[in-house]
């Protein structure tokens, strides 16, 4: 479904992604692991077209998307839950969700309303707070809102950048349960996580990024079992 081939990306003169090769097949949950500043978020932004790759190709459903504007990429079916949530603080919960459907301006109003209800069914807390400003929500609620907002674009591939960041352990489990149920409903997921153990427990495969290169790639179970990998790349001991 998604394929990155030798992707290189720069911020100004600094090369951040040196060679990223990665594939996500339809229906999977794939986990992208790596230490701080290894380029995980940049990989996500490159897929979405927010950062332009300087070399290599990004293909989605067998078509090149690395030259397309983000708007088109979102329309094609990829959406992002950004790192640190980045909800619109001075918009209400409902408005945040509606912003998620920004590219779907041609969709009938009834369809959008039904999608909002679907998000509320997944996150009943958001329904209770639909008229509250996003900035007044708790961290966990904001994460739910960020996920709900991304779902409003009706993605076939959902990119999630550290969805458990800053959440209490109970909430982390809850978020990963929800990621799993979103996946079961038919959305393919590529998730970036520092929290390797939890993420790998729901993923089918994992990639490890180090210094802008994919250095390890294996089945999730194998990565979980391999002690040396966990020590070397995932910062665990």
């Amino acid at each position: 479904m998604l394929k990155l081939t030798d992707v290189v990306a720069h911020y100004g003169p600094i090369q951040v992604l040196k060679s990223v090769n990665l594939e996500v097949r339809a229906g999977e949950i794939v986990c992208l692991l790596g230490g701080n500043a290894s380029g995980k978020s940049t990989t996500m932004k490159t897929i979405l077209g927010v950062v332009r790759p300087t070399a290599g190709r990004v293909e989605f459903e067998d078509q090149r998307i690395d030259r397309l504007p983000t708007e088109t990429i979102v329309r094609r079916g990829i959406s992002l839950v950004p790192e640190a949530r980045r909800i619109f603080a001075r918009m209400t919960v409902w408005e945040n969700l509606a912003m998620g459907a920004f590219t779907r301006q041609k969709a009938p109003a009834g369809e959008l309303a039904a999608d909002v209800e679907r998000v509320y069914a997944l996150f009943p807390r958001l329904a209770e707070r639909q008229h509250q400003l996003g900035g007044t929500l708790s961290g966990g609620e904001q994460q739910m809102l960020a996920i709900g907002r991304a779902l409003m674009a009706r993605p076939r591939l959902l990119l999630m950048d550290e969805p458990s960041m800053g959440l209490a352990p109970v909430l982390v489990d809850q978020v990963f349960d929800i990621i799993q149920s979103i996946n079961r409903l038919g959305t393919t997921i590529l998730v970036v996580e520092q929290n390797a153990a939890v993420a790998l427990s729901i993923a089918s495969r994992g990639y490890v990024l180090q210094n802008g290169r994919i250095v390890v790639h294996d089945a999730a179970r194998a990565l979980l079992a391999a002690d040396h990998i966990r020590r070397a790349y995932l910062g665990e001991d």
Partner: protein
């Protein structure tokens, strides 16, 4: 909701007061002050689009006011001998000023916050310097002595001359820009601006073309200054570089912030206060600006979010996607 209903009622009351205002004014001087309130409120609404809606801190807005004024002076004065009719000149000025908004906005697209503020401030200064120096080798702007002999607005052969007439003309323009601002805010582009203001990266991730949206904000914001500039030029019958100093940018920005950024009624109230208070304190002679400054400080300390805040807009909820 309660707040919004209250604001709406207040808007109607203020509107009614504005229409009958000249009858209650003690003299022609005060009608002139009222006209200036309308003029500055229009400018403040334009800056509000850039700063309040899109969250782009523009410290050089006066550049567009200057460009608008001078363009009108070029088109309708003895300076170049062009005497385009008011109803033709104003739309041309508005379009050209909007275009200047794109030209000045384009280089700033990648800048944010403090950097954007500094660069726009620079553009404001550059514009002022151009106005003051472009009288040689070819006399374009009239240099320090500006342009005089500007045509007054004439509609259907009837030339405006009295302050009351200008007042109603400016009031009509204010009503128009107020209406346009309200509509824009609830439009697709208005939601895009608000998303950019809240979080630019998230806005891009939603599929918003932030480049286009920002340029639209600069263009539309500048177009309001095109209206204000034409009106100033035709009312003063002259324009001078000194009308477009940096302090004017700050003055207009203060109207936007004082009123509560993004809140339309608040912005109009901010303009009303900032134009009229110095007049009220005129008797205090040289202390009036001091008193004025103190009042601003007190106001901002006790109402840091401005007179009216963004809250209470949910009775007019519209779908961003619509």
């Amino acid at each position: 909701m309660a707040t919004a209903g209250w604001q709406r009622r207040m808007a109607w009351v203020l509107g009614a007061v504005a229409v009958v205002g000249p009858l209650a004014a003690p003299n022609d001087y005060w009608i002139g002050v009222m006209a200036r309130i309308c003029l500055y409120a229009t400018l403040a609404l334009g800056l509000n689009i850039v700063v309040g809606f899109a969250g782009l801190l523009d410290l050089g807005y006066v550049a567009f006011f200057g460009i608008g004024s001078y363009l009108y002076a070029f088109l309708a004065s003895t300076h170049f001998g062009l005497h385009l009719p008011f109803l033709l000149a104003v739309p041309i000025v508005v379009v050209l000023t909007a275009f200047s908004g794109i030209l000045i906005g384009a280089p700033t697209l990648r800048l944010r916050g403090d950097y954007l503020a500094i660069v726009t401030l620079g553009f404001g200064e550059i514009t002022y310097l151009l106005l003051i120096n472009l009288d040689r080798p070819v006399n374009i702007t009239g240099g320090p002595s500006g342009i005089i002999g500007i045509d007054p607005p004439a509609v259907a052969g009837f030339a405006l001359s009295r302050n009351t007439q200008y007042y109603y003309l400016f009031l009509a323009a204010l009503a128009l820009t107020l209406l346009a601002s309200g509509r824009l805010r609830r439009s697709r582009i208005g939601w895009a601006w608000q998303a950019i203001r809240e979080d630019e990266l998230a806005a891009r991730a939603m599929g918003i073309n932030t480049t286009v949206a920002k340029l639209q904000a600069f263009a539309i914001g500048a177009s309001f200054a095109g209206i204000g500039g034409s009106f100033l030029a035709s009312w003063q019958r002259s324009v001078f570089p000194e009308n477009f100093l940096f302090t004017e940018s700050i003055n207009i920005l203060a109207m936007v912030i004082l009123g509560g950024m993004g809140n339309l009624l608040g912005v109009v109230m901010g303009a009303t206060l900032l134009v009229s208070l110095p007049e009220v304190f005129r008797d205090l002679q040289r202390y009036r600006l001091l008193v004025f400054g103190l009042m601003l400080m007190v106001l901002m300390v006790f109402r840091p979010e401005g007179l009216l805040t963004l809250q209470g807009r949910h009775d007019e909820e519209a779908e961003p996607g619509a």
